[in-house]
């Protein structure tokens, strides 16, 4: 009799806990779901070819006697991609090298110091990074304080510690036996690191890099102080440059309907781009083994 009760109680508890966990998940998903829903609903209406090719229009609200040009955020799209590309090109190799140092070569107190500062930096407010670049450029290159290069550097400074730590973690996950096996074949250490360890860890490293890019893709604060924003198309490194996040910041709070619409469109596009980055990463990594056959 007693046994039977205990068993029933246990099963009941199990079910209750499972239900609670499910409820929490649903609760967590609700805001996410509602964000996505809102962005899609509000932004979809403005996404058309004009949206991608035109630059920002004269602000207006549609009224009885004035027609508003929708305009577009073409320059901001180009700007965001340029900034992302620039910052990644600078930061990812540097961050990766730092990660390799931390995981493979570091010995002694220096390693702990580097790791500690990297962790601290990943937590610093991004506007502080922007401020740092702003101030540095004020001193060194006053002419190009607001420029694409400044924006790129600000984003790079955010990415580097992040990539360093994620790369280090990914490299650490490679079992020591793999390194030993490669060393035992008479391969010099640097080649073991680059050709064997790195390729074993590439999933983790790529994921870390993409996460970093997704993170800074939507950064606004540092760009306020460095990229500056630009109403026109520009790919010059020494000129201010537009960005989608800046468009959202600037346009969403204005009273102009067409600008508001463009802001929602930009938001939708940003979300889709970040999603695209993740999917691309997964897809790229599927291509791991190609056919091998020995003839004869």
């Amino acid at each position: 009799m007693i046994r039977f009760n205990r068993d029933v109680r246990r099963r009941l508890k199990n079910r209750v806990m499972a239900a609670l966990a499910l409820a929490c998940v649903a609760l967590a998903l609700v805001p996410l779901g509602s964000i996505v829903h809102t962005v899609v609903v509000r932004g979809a209406s403005v996404v058309n070819p004009e949206f991608f090719t035109q630059i920002q229009p004269i602000p207006c609200s549609p009224g009885p006697n004035s027609t508003c040009v929708q305009g577009g955020i073409g320059n901001a799209i180009v700007g965001t991609f340029l900034l992302l590309g620039l910052s990644s090109a600078i930061a990812i190799p540097l961050g990766l090298l730092a990660g390799i140092y931390l995981a493979e070569y570091g010995k002694g107190p220096l390693v702990f110091a580097v790791r500690f500062f990297a962790d601290v930096m990943t937590g610093l407010p991004s506007i502080v990074m922007g401020l740092f670049i702003f101030a540095a450029f004020q001193l060194a290159f006053p002419g190009i304080v607001f420029s694409a290069i400044a924006g790129g550097l600000a984003l790079a400074v955010i990415i580097i510690p992040f990539v360093a730590r994620t790369s280090e973690e990914a490299l650490r996950l490679v079992p020591g036996s793999i390194r030993e096996a490669a060393l035992a074949l008479g391969v010099p250490k640097y080649r073991v690191t680059v050709r064997v360890v790195l390729s074993s860890a590439r999933e983790g490293i790529v994921t870390g890099a993409l996460l970093a890019m997704a993170r800074v893709g939507g950064e606004t604060a540092p760009l306020l102080l460095t990229a500056g924003g630009n109403s026109f198309y520009s790919v010059r490194l020494d000129q201010p440059i537009a960005a989608m996040s800046l468009v959202i910041y600037n346009f969403a709070t204005t009273p102009y309907a067409n600008w508001n619409a463009l802001a929602w469109g930009a938001a939708l596009l940003l979300v889709l781009i970040m999603l695209g980055l993740s999917i691309a990463a997964r897809f790229l990594l599927r291509h791991r083994f190609h056919e091998q056959r020995i003839r004869g």
Partner: protein
Amino acid sequence: MTRKLAAEKVSAWYGPKKAIEDISLDFEEHATTAIIGPSGCGKSTLIRCLNRLHETVPKARVEGKVLLDDKDVYADDPVTVRRRVGMVFQKANPFPTMSVYDNVAAALRLNGVRNRGKLDKIVKQSLEQAALWDEVKDYLGKPGVSLSGGQQQRLCIARALAAEPEVLLMDEPCSALDPIATAKIEDLIFDLKTDYTVVIVTHNMQQAARVADTTAFMYLGHLIEVGGTRELFERPREALTESYITGRFG
């Protein structure tokens, strides 16, 4: 008896802890030498000193000489040494991101060999030597880690052989395998000694009895006794050796 490899008064430390002390041991060419002893006696440490792998561990230290063809390996470049003295580990460790072919070809590729014809030839030869060719010849593109445990270990043996070493060190190669896989690898060792010098560390005394020409017994970092396998198992000289091999260790 030609002495291919020899340890001369080798001692090794992990940080402050001394793992092996003053080991002097000869390894005959084209023969199999087994090193037996209880866990922690230092046998793995010893063979890792033979191919200079011990020093890759942080804070590890080695003293003494290891002579390969009568030349001290510690006076030579470690990478060259490791090419001449290959190693197979306790748990099979094929490179996870590489196919069977790539795993075997790794030693050559990583050292700059690109000629596809040469790679093909050596991969086939090594897999044949490791008695694995027939089982994988149609699946060379499969990931190395998709093979069974015994096959993976033979893959690692093929990988080590592809580097064309002169000596092959095996650290308890069968301890994670079932009896059939073990038997295959023991047969392999029997054939390998024609072309290589084999040193095998094993927990399993019966295995040492089956495959080795010479057996050395280690205990607590010291070499207690070494001799022909038959003599050692029929009438060991040291009481400690006798206690260990008859399983009466206190």
